[in-house]
């Protein structure tokens, strides 16, 4: 229910913002030498001559998976939700979003795996050996990671590893499955994404190192860990079954939320590395006052976050018996 309300609120806000911007997409559509006639026709064609609430109502109607609910024509049936057509190139927004989504998904989920691969071992080890050399190095890394902007890190990585050393490609994206054009397949896919992943993961890796370290340290001091040792459990079992099991519970929730936040962060990384993902699509659409495309990305991102939250809630209830749904 809250998800539905949130969804409505987000889409309305986008509409209102676009309405408030003093730019006319119809004029843009007519090009340099726009006649009044052309603008009027274009405005009608795009639907921007209607009042705001009609535009929103139409948008909403297209989006609903059920159609035929009108008062004088009641014949409910299912249909594919439709996001409308782009103002600028008349492509269906559905196809624009569906083309861009895998790119962003690759970036975000790959990045999440990347940062967890760094944060888990570093966080755990530095918690086990506080004030050790590793711990100190990790703390410096955390400090840099938290204070540096992803664009800066991205450019730095692109310059040194991509441009100077030439180890990794600086731009471009390759499909994971079917080769489109000159490259494709999992290896090329991963190869092209290494730098974006690293950029993207840097901040979160830093945050997670800090969080995991703190959680593990806290769990190590828990009474039930002492109980486990008092039972005669060997140290690896104490770690695995008692410390980590509890310390990583909150990390699961955080991970879900942060992947949502990371969707926003993807915008920077995508523009630095020229990845044709949702972030780049949204920026382009906003620059062209392309309301349907912007709205499409917003709708899609909101849905993703809502879905993600749901999955995390279920997952959490599954691994933490204290909040098990009965």
């Amino acid at each position: 229910m809250w998800a539905f309300v949130l969804f409505i609120a987000v889409t309305i806000v986008t509409y209102v913002i676009f309405y408030a911007i003093p730019a006319n997409p119809a004029r843009l559509a007519c090009g340099q030498r726009a006649t009044a006639e052309c603008i009027k026709r274009a405005a009608h064609y795009l639907g921007t001559d209607r009042p705001l609430y009609v535009q929103y109502g139409k948008f909403f109607g297209r989006l609903m998976p059920v159609a035929g609910l009108g008062p004088n024509n009641f014949s409910p049936h299912f249909k594919t939700p439709n996001l409308g057509r782009s103002f600028t190139n008349r492509l269906t927004v559905n196809s624009v979003v569906l083309n861009a989504a895998p790119v962003t998904a690759s970036l975000v989920f790959g990045g999440a795996v990347f940062w967890m691969l760094i944060a888990l071992p570093v966080g755990i080890l530095s918690a086990l050996r506080p004030r050790s050399l590793l711990d100190r190095i990790a703390m410096v890394f955390v400090l840099v990671g938290i204070s540096a902007h992803p664009v800066w890190i991205g450019l730095l990585l692109a310059y040194f590893l991509g441009f100077k050393a030439g180890v990794f490609p600086i731009t471009g994206y390759c499909d994971f499955i079917n080769p489109s054009g000159n490259c494709g397949g999992p290896v090329q896919w991963a190869y092209h994404l290494v730098l974006p992943w690293a950029t993207f993961a840097f901040l979160f890796a830093a945050l997670y190192v800090r969080m995991i370290r703190a959680n593990v340290m806290e769990a190590l001091g828990e009474d039930y860990v002492r109980t486990a040792r008092a039972k005669g459990a060997p140290e690896w079992l104490v770690m695995r079954s008692h410390v980590l099991r509890n310390a990583l519970l909150p990390v699961v929730t955080m991970l879900g939320m942060d992947i949502g936040i990371a969707l926003g962060g993807a915008i920077f990384t995508e523009s630095v590395f020229g990845l044709p993902g949702l972030g780049k699509t949204a920026i382009q659409a906003i620059e062209n006052f392309d309301l349907p495309t912007t709205q499409g990305v917003v709708v899609f991102a909101t849905l993703c976050i809502i879905l993600l939250t749901l999955v995390v809630d279920l997952l959490y209830a599954w691994i933490d018996p204290r909040i098990r749904l009965t």
Partner: protein, 340 residues
């Protein structure tokens, strides 16, 4: 030979503020099947004493010396592997706070079974059956169904019963109970104490009962160690300690035993706070709070010496024996009057 013989045990912790002397030369012994009560105010080093015996202090900051002979083998110099074998199978321990001592993410049946399977090569099924047997023995109603419950589904008293069941699952020779009833309400306290006594008889384990409540000690202990500021103030048989207490600190503890008629003026009350173990007082550590303090108390640390007519009763106080006997008699007479 005593089951456990602790001699001159010391444990110091390195902290940012300096060295904390948590245990500073403690000796006692526990015989097979006997119950030793360790009493003292908060911070007197009772828990650390027992954690040192179990080898459960944080390795990074704790330094220990002395010996703790367990069946002729020194636990302080035992290898970690040997200690793990002993922990949970020969010596088991239960803790003060049952709410936090069980792992919240594992079923209690699994936690009990783990305790058994760590020491015996038995099937999961056997361990589960044994877990059930123990849960019944500690009086958990509908035990079969509760095996698959999680700790948060139990009340505090029930969790402490689960902890007791878990500690006894391998038939230990010694059970260390660190204030097992402090976190519980009064009725549950009594039930848990009775339960420990009953099980002790059944299983034949020796028990070290840590508490700050002399009433608990009077009820279940055979021998008593009174600890003050990381040292032993007085120790002896329970009869001796209660009939002829020889240390002003023990008098204080007895004087502050909870009574129903709280209006009656206390005979002896311990004034002030326990000292910081970063910089313990010179001389007798109790002297800043002692109503009987003499000049010598500030200079010379009294040795733990036997009472003249009873070599099993040791105390560390400079007062002459005549005064002690007189004061103790006065205190006891007062308590009798108060009780009747």
């Amino acid at each position: 030979m005593a089951l456990l013989e602790v001699t001159d045990l010391k444990t110091y912790f390195r902290t940012d503020d300096g060295v904390v002397r948590a245990v500073d030369g403690v000796s006692f012994s526990v015989d097979k099947g006997q119950t030793l009560g360790i009493v003292g105010e908060s911070g007197s080093g009772k828990s650390v004493t027992c954690l040192t015996i179990m080898g459960l202090n944080p390795k990074r900051t704790a330094m220990s010396s002395g010996t703790a002979m367990w069946k002729g083998e020194d636990l302080l110099t035992a290898t970690p592997k040997r200690l793990r074998e002993i922990r949970g199978s020969e010596i088991a321990m239960i803790f003060q706070d049952p709410m936090t001592s069980l792992n919240p993410v594992h079923k209690i049946g699994a936690q009990l079974a783990e305790a058994m399977r760590l020491h015996e090569d038995v099937s999961k099924k056997t361990a589960r059956a044994r877990a059930l047997e123990l849960l019944k023995a500690v009086g958990i109603p509908r035990a079969e169904r509760r095996l698959d419950d999680y700790p948060h589904q139990f009340s505090g008293g029930m969790r402490q019963r689960v902890m007791i069941a878990m500690s006894l699952i391998n038939n230990p020779d010694l059970l260390i109970a660190d204030e097992p009833t402090t976190a519980l309400d009064v009725t549950t306290q009594a039930q848990i104490l009775t339960l420990i006594e009953k099980l002790q008889e059944e299983f034949g384990s020796a028990v070290i009962m840590i508490t700050h409540d002399l009433g608990v000690v009077a009820e279940i202990a055979d021998d008593v160690v009174v600890m003050y500021a990381a040292e032993v103030a007085e120790k002896g048989g329970v009869e001796q300690i209660f009939k002829k207490p020889h240390h002003p600190y023990t008098w204080g503890l007895m004087g502050s035993l909870p009574r129903l008629d709280a209006d009656v003026e206390r005979l002896v009350q311990i004034q002030g706070q326990p000292p910081s173990m970063l910089r313990p007082p010179t001389g007798c550590r109790f002297h800043p709070r002692c109503p009987y303090v003499m000049p010598i108390c500030k200079e010379v640390d009294p040795a733990l010496a036997p009472v003249s007519d009873d070599p099993g009763h040791l105390q560390s106080c400079h007062l002459d024996e005549e005064t002690k006997n007189r004061e103790a008699a006065k205190l006891l007479a007062g308590m009798m009057a108060e009780a009747s």
